[in-house]
């Protein structure tokens, strides 16, 4: 409350400062204003460079509407989303399950950890020609590539979390009579939930990179192919349409992870909100 008295006081001497301070507390107004500022800056720059370098916002919007109306953008989005979704879900489920098991059964983990580390360390892109040779040009290659992109960060993060499961809480559960199976579900799984979410956040980002790179370089379909095609033909106004789709997709996926975090770990106190 004491903070609000400062801009009120300043209003007498500096109206603009006060307006900015009020806006600072209004997230919607902040977002709209910064968006308009961004568009204005874009417009100014585009007027001073050739359209093959930077098309104007208006031409981008026109291209976006045209590509949507023709169905091209929607078809490409669908072609991107479904292998992304299948690969990501598979990577999440397998990574989480395997991570929990390896976190508990440490002797198995000591055997498998080097392979997992190698799998995680090799840049994803190096797998792509191999998958192409094995699985051909098509969605199967994309799904497996997205899966590989997502499964390693998920697995490693969850394994670290399960390994760190509070040994005292495990002892408490044992003293109450819990079997190994019961302790997995009563202690290890819930205490790993923050790690499962953290893993998912990384997996989502890597999966998104995976699907775009796969479509752009190898499979020539969906959003990734639109980047390649409109980039090579220097049709930059159209190039921005798939870019907008990817940005929206990334925001929605992140929102989903945030929502899951709030729903699954309500007991976590946040230091900063």
């Amino acid at each position: 409350m004491t903070q609000s008295s400062i801009p009120l006081d300043g209003a007498r001497t500096n109206g603009a400062m006060s307006m900015l301070a009020t806006l600072g507390r209004n997230h919607v107004a902040m977002t709209v204003l910064s968006g308009l500022g961004f568009l204005a800056l874009w417009q100014v720059i585009s007027l001073n460079v050739p359209p093959v370098i930077l098309p104007s916002p208006a031409s981008v919007i026109a291209a976006f509407i045209e590509l949507t109306a023709s169905g091209e953008l929607i078809k490409a989005t669908a072609e991107t989303i479904w292998p992304l979704a299948v690969g990501l879900v598979l990577g999440f489920v397998v990574g989480t399950a395997l991570g929990l098991l390896l976190g508990i059964f440490r002797s198995a983990a000591r055997v498998l950890d080097p392979y997992i580390f190698i799998g995680w360390s090799i840049p994803n892109i190096a797998w792509l020609p191999l998958f192409l040779a094995w699985f051909g040009v098509g969605d199967l290659t994309l799904i497996i590539f997205v899966f590989v992109s997502a499964v390693f960060p998920q697995l490693l993060t969850v394994e670290a979390g399960a390994k760190e499961a509070d040994s005292f809480l495990v002892e408490v559960a044992r003293s109450l009579g819990g079997t190994k199976h019961e302790i997995l579900f009563a202690v290890v799984l819930p205490s790993s939930l923050p790690y499962i979410i953290a893993g998912l956040r990384i997996a989502v980002g890597r999966a998104l990179v995976g699907i775009i790179v796969g479509q752009l370089l190898i499979v020539a379909s969906g959003i990734g192919y639109m980047f390649q095609f409109y980039g090579e033909t220097l049709a930059l106004a159209k190039y921005f349409a798939p870019l907008i789709v990817v940005a929206v997709l990334a925001i929605l996926l992140n929102r989903g992870v945030n929502w899951a975090e709030r729903a699954l770990i309500p007991w976590k106190l946040r230091a900063f909100t």
Binding site: F168, E171, S175, L176, G177, A186, S191, P266, W267
Partner: protein
């Protein structure tokens, strides 16, 4: 037949310097049914090791622990343990934490109506009715340990094992919870094996105080506390007998420090 019997148990650990550290040597004691027995001793005398073995969490190297005449092989549904660190599951509500005491005892996840009533009764006993849907972090340390107590009591244990349960609490809360524990014990009448380093607490609560010598842990002296019960209704600490026992115990412990 004693309810809980320690038959010449020894336990050692690997020490950081490479050798073996003997925590307990030929510890022998019989716990009669319905008695409140407290073990006191200097830190490092093996009190907590003793209680963890009694709970079936770790096995003794030699010797055996008998529960109702049978050798104890692991945690028993007849016992409940209360920890200094409390150990509530942070992701479970208060009611769910207490429910876990039954779920891991019966190995059934779904609770019956009578079991739900027992949870309500246990929470009422420790004065936490109305806090069922809170999470542990929303409760003070004293209230959290009340939940720990409710989780133990809901199992209707024959033996209650308590490892310095009030050690981490402030002095006032500790006194209040000691009174509450005695009042509860009057109702449930289970056998109690209590660990503390606080002599006043030991004498105030117990029928028998076992004083342990320093490592390797062994029994140095056993004191019978004949102070009348119920003790929580008046200031038993002002009694001459209390002072006398306290003196004996303190002299005995001081030699071990």
């Amino acid at each position: 037949m004693p309810e809980l019997e320690f038959v010449d148990i020894s336990k050692s650990y690997d020490s950081p310097s490479g050798g073996r550290l003997l925590a307990l040597e030929k510890f022998a004691f019989k716990l009669a049914r319905g008695r409140f027995v407290t073990v006191v001793g200097p830190s490092g005398c093996g009190k907590t090791t003793l209680l963890r073995m009694a709970a079936g969490l770790i096995p003794p190297d030699t010797g055996e622990i008998r529960l109702d005449g049978e050798i104890l092989a692991g945690p028993s549904p007849k016992m409940s343990m209360v920890f200094q660190g409390i150990g509530l599951m942070p992701w479970k509500t208060i009611a769910d934490n207490v429910a876990l005491g039954i779920q891991l005892q019966t190995h059934r996840h779904t609770l019956g109506i009578d079991e739900k009533q027992r949870i309500d009764a246990a929470l009422a006993m420790v004065g936490l009715t109305g806090f069922e849907r809170y999470f542990p972090y929303q409760l003070s340390g004293g209230m959290q340990q009340r939940v720990g107590l409710a989780r133990a009591l809901v199992r209707q244990p024959e033996i209650l094992l308590m490892d310095e349960p009030f050690g981490a609490l402030d002095a006032q809360t500790r006194t209040v919870l000691q009174d509450e524990l005695l009042a509860l014990w009057d109702r449930v009448k289970s056998t109690v094996l209590f660990i503390t380093h606080d002599l006043d607490e030991a004498i105030y609560l117990s029928d028998v105080v076992v004083i342990m010598g320093r490592r390797p842990g062994r029994i140095k002296e056993v004191l019978d506390v004949t102070l009348p019960r119920p003790r929580y209704s008046y200031d038993v600490r002002a009694e001459k007998e209390f002072a006398r026992l306290r003196n004996i115990a303190w002299k005995s412990i001081r030699e071990e420090l």
